[in-house]
Symmetry: C2
Subunit: 346 residues, 2 copies
């Protein structure tokens, strides 16, 4: 079997480590664009996965494809790059974009971005290549994060991994034989809609979907409901009277300090995650499940009960052969992952 | 991309169709061995997926690897084949074995067969190759059936498929980019343990596993409990007083004839399957889910409510792009699938 691009990149990173006094000027570079509903973040990222320069603009100030591409052109000089195709082509190997919605990676096409108006049916890769003259890859934002985490983060040591991100939404990406697996129509990895209860909470996507139980709003609402019902907790003093302004971070901090209610909330989140992760393990038997996103920052108050419930719900033949680990890249995972989409083929 | 072995086989089958008066003597052949807990079935299968000759022996009469390999040697002449390596090597391209338990396909190794004593830690492929001189592949029986269905049955037109078999146990196999995907340790595809209820029925494998709701015993027990509780049904006359002797086939026949209780039982089975299938669709987005095994013979009383519940539990972006189809190979799926394991590499 030929070495995968991940192995190649890893070897490159390892070789690079041995001579890390060398200038980085000769390393391949790509631009990663983390296209968020609120902010569009850009970075120049080298083949070791290091963001060398960063820029951003508010997405609402560049509405629709024309304005957005113009805003990208305006931002490139802030990354020390040209926005003229002839020059840019010599500076970077490509551009990778992670977009918040349904995309077709093969065609570099955006079907629809749920929370960004004006982005229905856009052949974005073609548009970008016409403007900037460099190869452009477009994927959904969670796949891009999975790509980054699997290339430069925790996943780089595995060939079969599942990446899950916990936040307002719950998403995922699958690494199979060292490659992101996108399914028949580029939409695989929707872990937030995996059902954990056939009679559970209904959403537009189905019944009992994981996101309905462990998304940010569900976590806050669970704590708020207990507080409104009069439950004692250190959380009571924060946002008293308007408990819906609590955040998962507040609850995680209280849990870490030993607050019983907050610990219960995270135990329930862990139980729901373990139910879905056990299904994923039986189905795909990955070597690792990597958990990223804001809620994963909770640390041991999440991961300890998660491993306990998972052990209770999996045969040892599966549990003993699978790791569950927090993601490593942190806040920069988005742009680095987007750049990895372009670096992977260079 | 090079044509996959499936495409090659399909093309061969198609070409063969055009000249189907030609003698089959020149077609490649393999021996498929469906190693069941009760019976071991063998067939000589050609590269078009046709079983040309068959034989069998009771598994209990050949206890343990030595006796079993001797029984296979005794059966080969019944298939019109030699059991001498020098001759056999010219007659067939290989042997494929599907075994009822945990196997390691890469090593051709049997970890353990749950219901067959004397089969712990057996390097079966090595043993067979030493005795018969032809390449031997060993997989679990459900993967072998999936392989057969994906090579010669419904799945041959798809690149991304999930195969599910419904019987005493519920198992599965995954086709990803035209190849059976076995996960990190050869055990992927355990669809029977995908959870549909985080607070559901406990088993040694976890909580809420699909098999606990739609396995043969669960189906019969659900009907029997309603009958014991006095529920009116055409099923009452059969096995009166010992309703646990009912079979899924009896219940399917009653449902097809319009019996309300039997229809309810199959609607519940369909609901449970739809919950798991929706999770699988969101995770993997296959082009098709192929349903085989005894219970799948129920026909429309299973598939109609299954499609209805699935539509209710999936976004149209997923539902409209995925087929749900009954398996095509029927009773011979086992041996043909086993032979396909060997033919796939020839």
């Amino acid at each position: 079997m030929r070495p995968s691009i991940f192995q190649t990149l890893e070897k490159a990173a390892s070789d690079a480590g041995k001579r890390n006094t060398m200038a980085t000027a000769n390393l391949k570079k790509a631009v990663g664009i983390d296209f968020g509903g609120t902010e569009t973040k850009l970075a120049r990222v080298n083949e070791r996965g290091k963001a060398e320069a960063a820029a951003s603009f508010p997405t609402a100030e560049a509405p629709g494809p024309d304005a957005w591409i113009a805003a990208v052109a305006a931002a490139l000089p802030q990354l020390g790059l040209s926005n003229e195709p002839e020059t840019l082509r010599r500076e970077i190997v490509g551009i990778g974009i992670g977009a918040p919605g349904f995309t077709d990676f093969e065609r570099g096409y955006i079907y629809d971005l749920t929370n960004v108006p004006g982005w229905k049916a856009v052949p974005l890769a073609d548009r970008m290549e016409a403007r900037f003259g460099v190869r452009t890859r477009v994927d959904n934002d969670v796949n891009a994060m999975a790509m980054g985490e699997c290339t430069f983060g925790v996943g780089r040591l595995y060939q079969h991994a599942v990446f899950v991100t916990l936040g307002t939404g719950v998403g995922g990406g699958l690494l199979i034989h060292n490659r992101i697996y996108r399914g028949a129509h580029s939409m695989a990895g929707e872990i937030g809609h995996v059902s954990i209860d056939l009679n559970g909470i209904r959403s537009p996507q189905g019944v009992g979907g994981l996101e309905q139980y462990v998304g940010n709003r569900a976590i806050v609402e669970r704590a708020a409901a207990a507080l409104r019902a009069g439950r004692a907790s250190a959380l009571r003093e924060r946002y008293a009277g308007d408990f819906s302004r609590l955040t998962p971070r507040d609850i995680a901090a209280a849990a870490t300090a030993g607050d019983a209610l907050a610990l219960e909330v995270f135990d329930f989140v862990a139980l729901c995650l373990a139910t879905a992760f056990a299904s994923i393990a039986y189905l795909l038997q990955p070597q690792v499940i990597i958990v990223g996103g804001g809620v994963a920052q909770a640390g041991p108050v999440l991961f300890d009960p998660l491993r306990r419930h998972l052990k209770d719900r999996l045969s040892p033949l599966f549990y003993d052969r699978m790791d569950v680990r927090p993601a490593a890249l942190g806040a920069a995972a988005g742009v680095i992952g987007c750049a990895a989409l372009a670096l992977a083929e260079s």
